[in-house]
Point group: C2
Chain length 326, copies 2
């Protein structure tokens, strides 16, 4: 029921994913009558793989996590996570309130042994491919130990998603040893000791986009600012380019040809909007789709959840954490 | 003598600025023989306004600030700042080692009363114009009081540079009151009490580029990551667009027409590289040109210094700080 568009996009996204993955089952959690009404607009849906679980309440976009936790026992978000907790579903995908989803996920699914708090991760594009950036905002202040945990989790996620022996780096304001705050410096010394980790040291904001690392670790404050400012910058660049292309006769001609390319690039460069972010460190799989994601974005989030189920990401994490955590 | 290109770009940049500003005098500080040699390549220079002050040493790019402070009494950076301290020059512009320049500036020029540490500020482009972002990396960990001081300094600088009654905001990971770390929340409550400040609350990474505020305040860790990642992203976008434009026949045609537009945009969107950053909160004017700035970039930095001298920015700051500091 969550996100800016709710079931209007989530239902068709689910139906499309069912068509592309013959072994996928989707349980839509929310107000049955509304969900049935939207499903009815899509003839030929395989209802043997599309289920509905009724939930009468909805967590609001601006609700505090504590409200979602204590009130609303019948919210769609809580009911969906309970399906994961109880083994009826292998993953939960939501476009709803991020803070509430994190709080409910921790409460209902619990974190893996050794993990203090889960982190949010997404893959962002770089010159050479992509890079897994975490944390994206779940943890405002982070200790060196937490940054270390994020690094380990990011490495395992990157491996599961197809990058063998990923290079992991700490995001910092310089690459020399003396740069950065205490937490970052301490995390660096922990990572240097982490056996089997391909720790390459510090990476700066520009190095991240140059593709210097496969996993980049920072606290949630920095990660969130980086991700959102990047999103804002891409849409600024697009609007400037569109304006340039519309400003003269030649430019206008160029624009007609260039605008579709721009749109494609914009989608690729707004990865959170496009692909959603995974919660890492839980005893279960939760993918957060961007609140303003359209149908295509929500489909990407479902696909990400499918990959994580196939790779059994929580179990892989659990195994590596046992070896690597301090 | 500093920066990736040293006097090779700094000398011609200075000569161009002399041509555009008839009242400007430039003192080149560095190795006389080398400087004379480069000047000699430019016939017709008005030597009555282009002076040389010899300095035998150079601060290296990777030198620690403490080395620049304690060793090298005859470095070009130190000698240039001494000229400002002793009233022979009204501003210092350098493309050298940022940390060393900050340490020497604080040591030689001192901070204004009430200012703990200077901040670095630059104007970055937004959808609606531009926005003054500070701190950009001079202060890694910042107290709420420092963030408050940065806000006041940013407002005065924005006013001096032509924005009356600027809207000032704190960079945060949400716009609700409960969001953010302790320093940011506390700084917000200080700013709410600051009389005559047009404090509009929190702004997020995307809101910054949407132009929601004229002055955006954050600690130097966050500001540096934001600036450098933005720089990296713009060059990623440019290279992707170039690749797209080169990939097919139609696209290639588009590319020939679009690439010059792209280059212009790239320069505009890499403001630090292009315009340099000011040190605010010193008893003197210091502008840091980007280490990799070309001639055009160094000229922009000189122009910025000229405006700050004309507006007497340190005195304006001093006046407002007396009213507003706690």
């Amino acid at each position: 029921m969550g996100g800016d568009f709710g079931p209007r996009f989530i239902v068709p996204a689910s139906i499309s994913c069912l068509a592309e993955s013959p072994s996928l089952h989707v349980v839509l959690v929310g107000q049955t009558a509304l969900l049935e009404e939207i499903i009815a607009r899509h003839p030929g849906v395989d209802r043997s793989r599309l289920h509905i679980k009724h939930a009468g309440e909805v967590v609001g976009t601006n609700e505090r996590p504590s409200q979602a936790l204590r009130g609303k026992p019948d919210s769609s978000m809580r009911v969906a996570l309970e399906l994961v907790r109880d083994g009826y579903a292998q993953a939960c995908v939501s476009a709803g309130n991020t803070g509430a989803l994190m709080a409910l996920s921790r409460h209902l699914l619990k974190t893996l042994p050794g993990i203090d708090r889960p982190a949010m991760v997404t893959a962002i594009p770089t010159r050479t491919g992509s890079c897994h950036l975490l944390d994206l905002g779940a943890n405002v202040d982070c200790s060196a130990e937490q940054l270390y945990q994020f690094a380990v989790m990011g490495v395992v996620a990157a491996e599961a998603l197809g990058t063998p022996h990923p290079r992991v780096a700490l995001l910092n304001i310089g690459t020399e040893e003396i740069k950065g705050n205490q937490q970052v410096k301490l995390a660096a010394s922990l990572l240097q000791k982490g056996e089997g980790l391909n720790f390459i040291g510090y990476v700066e904001g520009d190095g991240l986009y140059r593709g210097e690392a496969d996993v980049v670790v920072c606290d949630g404050f920095v990660g969130n600012i980086l991700l959102k400012s990047s999103e804002g910058l891409v849409s600024l660049v697009s609007s400037r380019l569109e304006a340039l292309f519309r400003s003269g006769v030649t430019s206008r001609l160029v624009g007609v040809l260039a605008l579709p390319l721009l749109r494609r690039l914009q989608a690729e460069l707004a990865p959170a909007r496009h692909n959603g972010a995974s919660f890492l460190g839980l005893q279960g799989i939760v993918v957060k789709s961007h609140g303003s994601a359209g149908q295509e974005g929500f489909q990407s989030a479902i696909r990400r959840a499918v990959v994580e189920v196939r790779e059994n990401l929580p179990r892989r994490l659990h195994g590596r954490l046992e070896d690597l955590l301090l």
